[in-house]
Amino acid sequence: MSSLALLAEIRQSSERRPYEVLKLAEPLLNSSNQLTSATDDAWLVYEQVFLSALDEGQIDLAKALLHILHSRFPSSQRVKRLYGLVNEAAGHPDESHKLYSEVVDKDPTNVLALKRIIALLKAEGKMALAANELVGYLDTHGNDFEAWLELSHIYLGLHMYRQAAFCLEEVILQQPANHYFHLCYAEINYSMGLLDIALKEYLRVIELSTDNVRGFYGVKLTADRIIELLSSSTRSGSGGGKSRRDAQMSFSLDNVPQMPVLEKLSQLATERLVATYSANKAASAPTKALEDWLKQ
């Protein structure tokens, strides 16, 4: 596969792999005729390499690339934003802020600049302020799932699980078939102790993606925990003990499936996990330990 194709693949996956990008791009940049032959793609590659250079702290390379982009697109807002990024990476966030504010003053609908202003707050570590700004931003741009996701992660960083879960609900509304979001939502609910919702969402994950290991672990842990709670609540039948236990739990045991169903779910998860791991021939000590844990 040519390095251009690899670069395009990394670009489309939107993963952050600056070192690989720079390595792939270095020969392309040194013989510039190769990049021009790629016509339209060349400018995207320049932007991609520029961002990777910032990530790797190679400010000089980034500036050179920015010069090329600027001479091609002198009046582009997208390139203007890249100037702000250089300043951010070089440690001049105030100048970046001035530039973004100018762009927003001229065109209040410039989403990219608005997001950078919020990202600047994040870079300074003012997470609560960034969350505030993001809430304001989402009032006008409610269909921006990337911003909802960002807000959810900021809330997670602040240990505000309930708010984070709400943001992920918005994301799921927009992309209901993406199992990664269901997984994240399930894990947040598990952290909050809302095991009934967590179980449902973990089941949704394994429904949407075949043999999802993380999903099956979730099903197993959640189902086993609910079984434990159910059996202890039936054992301590006397009223006083029960109400104390209910106060500890953040969800109602009425919303969970019946005991046999839960046991079957736990069994199924164990079975699929063992099958998935034994399909992978490179069995090792960790795999062995895992199987022992699953079978107990």
């Binding site: 993963e15 040194n30 001479s71 990202a119 994040k122 870079a123 911003a147 993406n178």
Partner: protein, 123 residues
Amino acid sequence: MAASNASDGLKTVAKAVAVLAFVCMLHSGYAAREFLLYSKSIGRQDLTLPIEIVLECLGALGVMIFAVVLGVGELKPVSYEAEMKRYSIDGVFSRPSFQVYNHRGRYLRPSRSAAPAVPAAKD
């Protein structure tokens, strides 16, 4: 290599068959029109099409459907799960417009900070 050659050959044949079937369909349409004009001119009362024309039209349609599907090339799986396989969890959660750049990246590989030969600006 041989397999791809064989499937290429199949594709070419299928495309040719599709074109042929389309011509047959046009022909059946033309024949139907001629039949109706002729029937009117001789004043026939029963205007139902003869069975050959109907058969030619339906048969050509059936053949064309199969030939087009065979000739169109590799079909992609329709399930959303197959589509989701292309995305990794890192990509889905990366949020490119909120990335910050004042991180430790510049200290990870300081030896490379000497930038590679800077490409000259074209034009």
